[in-house]
C-alpha cells in the first residue's frame, strides 16, 4: 500500500476497554464452553452397591444424560448366601423407568405392576452373580429418581435396595 502512496492509518494506544454489558455477559458466555470442557454438561455414570443378608446389589447407572441420549443401566445381583436361590427378583421403580423411552430389558421383564418392573432371575447358585441390563433413552428433562431393589422372590419383601437419580439436560 505504501509503495503506491496510499496514506496509512495512524496508530492508537490499544487498551482493554469493555462495555458494561460485555463485562456481565462475556464471562457468562465463556463459562458455558469452559464447563462443557470439564464435562459438566456431558454424560456421566456412577456405581453404587449395597448388600443385605442374601442378595448383594451393585448398580451402574447414568447420573447425567442429555435429551435423546441412550445409556445402559446395569444391575448385578449376587447370591451371597450359602444356599442356591430359586428366584432372585429385581424390582425397578416404575416411576423412574417411565421417564425414559425405548426401554429394553435384558433379560426381559417378567412382570409389570403399577409400581414396578420385575425381572425374575431363576436358579441362582450360591456365590453366583447375574446381571440385568436396561437400556434407557432420555425422553424427559430434569431430575428423575427411583429405587431398584432385590428380593428373594416375587412375593418377598425387598432385601436390599438402592436409590438412583438421573439428571437429563434438555
Amino acid at each position: 500500500m505504501e509503495e503506491h502512496g496510499v496514506p496509512q492509518p495512524p496508530d492508537i494506544e490499544k487498551r482493554w476497554v469493555f462495555r458494561t454489558v460485555q463485562k456481565l455477559g462475556v464471562p457468562l458466555i465463556v463459562l458455558i464452553p469452559l464447563l462443557a470442557l470439564f464435562g459438566l454438561f456431558g454424560e456421566s455414570s456412577r456405581t453404587v452397591s449395597a448388600s443385605g443378608a442374601a442378595p448383594a446389589l451393585e448398580i451402574t447407572y447414568p447420573t447425567r444424560l442429555r435429551y435423546n441420549m441412550t445409556s445402559p443401566l446395569v444391575v448385578s445381583v449376587a447370591n451371597i448366601s450359602s444356599q442356591p436361590a430359586p428366584t432372585l427378583t429385581v424390582s425397578f421403580d416404575a416411576g423412574y423407568i417411565g421417564t425414559f423411552s425405548d426401554v429394553s430389558f435384558t433379560p426381559s421383564v417378567s412382570e409389570i405392576t403399577e409400581e414396578a418392573y420385575l425381572v425374575h432371575l431363576n436358579n441362582v447358585p450360591a456365590g453366583e452373580t447375574r446381571q440385568v441390563v436396561v437400556d434407557v433413552h432420555a425422553a424427559q428433562y430434569w431430575a428423575h429418581s427411583g429405587a431398584v431393589t432385590a428380593s428373594l422372590g416375587p412375593e418377598q419383601p425387598p432385601a436390599v435396595g438402592l436409590e438412583l437419580s438421573t439428571f437429563v439436560f434438555p
Binding site: G5, V6, I29, I32, P33, G39, G42, R66, Y67, N68
Partner: protein
C-alpha cells in the same frame, strides 16, 4: 467437551480456509463474521431438529462460537501478527489511473469489476481514479483524483435544471 473441541476445530479450519481463498469470497463480511454466520445455523438446526443433538449441545456450540469470535476480535485488535493471520491486508488495484496488474491477478479482480465500482462512485475513466483499493472485506473502495469528479444523483439533477 467433544462439542467444544469440534466447534473450535471447525471454526479455525473455516477461518483459515476463507483466509486462503482470498478477499473476493468474503462479499461484505469480515472473515470472523462469515465463519460465525456459517457455523451458527448448522449448530442450531441440529438442536432444533432434534436429530442427534440436544438443546444443551446446541447452546454449548453457539456459546463456543461466540467465545471464539470474542477472543479473536480481542486478539485482532491487540496483536498485529494475529490480525495479519485472520484478515488480509488491503490491496491496491489502481494507482494514479493505472491498473496494478500484479495485485489484480493475485486477487482475481478484473477490469470490468473495477469499472463497475467506478461507475457506482460516479466515475467513468481510469484517469479519474487516484486509488482503487480492495479492502479486507472484499469491497473495492474508489478514491477519485478530485472529489469534484464524483457525480452524485443530486449533482445530476442540479445540472439538468441549469
Amino acid at each position: 467437551m467433544e462439542t467444544v473441541i469440534r466447534v473450535t476445530l471447525f471454526y479455525v479450519l473455516i477461518l483459515l480456509g476463507l483466509r486462503v481463498l482470498g478477499k473476493r469470497e468474503f462479499s461484505q463480511l469480515s472473515p470472523l463474521e462469515l465463519v460465525t454466520l456459517l457455523l451458527i445455523p448448522e449448530l442450531v438446526s441440529q438442536a432444533l431438529g432434534r436429530e442427534d443433538f440436544s438443546f444443551t449441545n446446541g447452546i454449548i456450540g453457539i456459546a463456543t462460537v461466540f467465545t471464539l469470535v470474542f477472543i479473536s476480535s480481542l486478539l485482532q485488535h491487540h496483536s498485529q501478527a494475529f490480525s495479519k493471520v485472520v484478515s488480509s491486508s488491503p490491496a491496491v488495484l489502481v494507482a494514479d489511473g493505472q491498473f496494478i496488474e500484479e495485485n489484480m491477478n493475485k486477487e482475481r479482480v478484473g477490469p470490468p469489476e473495477i469499472f463497475s465500482e467506478m461507475h457506482k462512485a460516479g466515475l467513468f475513466e481510469l484517469a479519474q481514479v487516484r486509488w482503487a483499493i480492495l479492502e479486507s472485506d472484499g469491497r473495492i473502495a474508489i478514491i477519485p483524483v478530485n472529489r469534484e469528479e464524483m457525480v452524485s444523483p443530486k449533482k445530476v439533477e442540479e445540472q439538468a435544471l441549469q
